[in-house]
Symmetry: C2
């Protein structure tokens, strides 16, 4: 029986058909007037998504590459950096400090928890901190926390706020300039409806100033080089130009829906999915769930592998498991990007059948009914 | 009048239709058994192209990113590095040493010249050199030089040989293990028939040993991380997985033709093109022309912009100009990758008409006749 392929991993996410078609178009050279026009349009749309007036640098690489370019371009060895550590990616960003010689202090939280502006301010009051690094939405635990209030605190203390927005920008409310975020980072393969391969970084005026005096050694990741070439609608190194051309197609779709509309849709999908699984007796993993991705605790007695294999093999529904210490404990479902509210409904439907197949008690329709009720105001 | 789009820039180069179609296929997650199988097959084919038994690391980034990963992973600050500087990319690699604190000594040559093994040995005799960095084929000047003899010298002196093979590997004879190259680097968008976005690096056993003691600070570019994950057919950071899936399609085409067949075809195209333009009274720029790309000096009195605009606007033939100090002096034509001998013939044909259009004397058929004669033994 035909079952359509449905990808729900929190990156790579589904890419729209129109964007895929663009990816199959013949390859052109990137140092041409035509490509500069594309790059210029891309800039305007990235600014729209980041909600910033500043340039958005395009790094060919993963989200980690984009983070490294920002980290090494604005910070110097020895700088005191406060890292909010509440998940796998936050741990990676802390290890950047260890690699490049920053003095990293961590607010360590259990997975699934988030920090408050008050906790951050307590640390800043001690003085000497140059920057705060913060994952807005932690993909591995599906946890998002307060950002605007933290930005107020960092601004007050004149400390750089570096935000990993890889699974928040383009999915959840994010207003770089108005909130006072200094460094905003995202990747192409999450909310922005493109395959992996591009990372994006925007710097506030304060962060741009910081690049001029930062002494961490970098070359490919030196954002001063990107700033210099961007005035000519160019990149310092050969960019993944076919991905850039395709990114423009996806960003135009976001612009047409409006970024606020995208945030609203993503939240509606997350709300419907959460209502559905909770009605089926599941618990959410996170104390502060993100709208971009949901992490659900497995039921006692259900084998995690059997669960995701049933979804995959019988329903062609592809979810992500837990990673590292959370392997076998949770499954994760994406709501970002090219994903609508009925996609969320279908995962709940497939979960009902999977529970039944695994010998779990299930009242058919209870999950999808709750999801439907949650969607009643969405249209 | 329909004129087919023909791309002759030396990267990005034309991508085969079958590979473009793969790029339009739906996106999958990369941490799956299916993707690991693709990655495993990719490894075997990359080893075939590099002619090595060692792993070939896959870096999401440009060729410069791949070079940086190799440079910072095998060398430490303070290391004495001998750089053969004969073009723009060689200059970039020299500046890496300045950025990361290596002690770079340069053999400086005029653009278009190449170094001999003897010159390299003279420098190594003075002692203390840890590595030689060498661009096998300099794209900006279309110049390729002796590599095997230099590898013999570096092996004899127990010095690492780091080779930028970005426009040589997959286009010109290159035999990493047999020649004793320690670090071999290339990118996806040249000979390997893919859009830009992936870089590839292979390390000899000696270079792998060097990564264990090298102290240059890196993270995304730390090849030890890539070595660790490759045993599980994985990458340490989210890879550009759709490009990887498409790379497999292009590499299978190379395997079917055989790598020796690809080298022979590339040389046949270059020979035909060179014979054609020389018969039309052009001079080659390089004293030691590469087979992957040809640089041709403009005729006196011909405006470089008018020349390439006529090719582009009247014939849909896209060549590259000179860059930096060579702007306006040369034009460059690619022979790498998805390009056959009749593509070379067609550029010569378009050049004949362009000369005529620009008021230059031309005997129609003289260029294409010479190209045809050069091709007589090719089939």
């Amino acid at each position: 029986m035909l079952m359509k392929y449905r990808l729900f991993t929190p990156g790579p996410t589904t890419v729209p058909e129109e964007t895929l078609i663009q990816l199959a178009r013949p390859v052109h050279h990137h140092r041409t007037a035509e490509f500069r026009k594309v790059f210029g349009e891309l800039q305007e749309l990235l600014k729209y998504v980041f909600k910033t007036k500043e340039n958005v640098y395009v790094i060919t690489g993963s989200g980690t590459a984009a983070f490294e370019s920002a980290y090494t371009s604005v910070l110097s060895p020895g700088a005191k950096v406060l890292n909010v550590t509440n998940g796998k990616f936050a741990e990676r960003w802390a290890s950047y400090g260890k690699t490049f010689g920053m003095d990293v202090k961590e607010i360590k939280l259990p997975y699934g928890q988030h920090t408050t502006a008050e906790q951050v301010e307590n640390e800043l009051n001690a003085g000497g901190i140059a920057a705060v690094t913060r994952v807005h939405s932690e993909t591995r635990t599906a946890t998002a926390g307060e950002l605007q209030a933290i930005a107020k605190v960092t601004a007050k203390h004149n400390v750089l706020l570096i935000v990993d927005g890889i699974t928040s920008i383009g999915a959840m409310p994010f207003d770089m300039d108005a909130w006072g975020v200094d460094v905003a980072i995202t990747g192409s393969q999450k909310s922005l409806m493109l395959p992996p391969g591009l990372g994006y970084v925007a710097l506030s005026k304060k962060a741009q100033e910081a690049t001029k005096s930062a002494t961490t050694k970098n070359f490919y990741f030196d954002l001063k080089k990107y700033e210099k070439s961007i005035s000519d609608s160019d990149t310092p190194f050969t960019p993944a130009n076919t991905l850039i051309e395709a990114q423009l197609v996806s960003l135009k779709m976001i612009k047409a829906e409006t970024i606020e509309g995208v945030w609203k849709r993503t939240k509606a999908s997350a709300d419907a999915f959460r209502a559905g699984v909770q009605a089926l007796g599941f618990e959410l993993f996170s104390a502060s769930p993100a709208d971009s991705v949901t992490a659900v605790k497995h039921k006692p007695g259900v084998d995690a592998k059997a669960f995701s294999n049933n979804l995959k093999n019988k329903h062609n529904v592809h979810v992500a498991g837990g990673q590292g210490t959370m392997e076998g404990q949770i499954f994760r479902v994406n709501h970002m990007g090219y994903s609508d509210v009925y996609d969320a409904l279908v995962v709940v439907a497939a979960i009902e059948h999977t529970l039944k197949a695994l010998g779990q008690p299930v009242e058919f329709g209870k999950g999808v009914g709750a999801a439907q009720a949650a969607l009643s105001g969405a249209f």
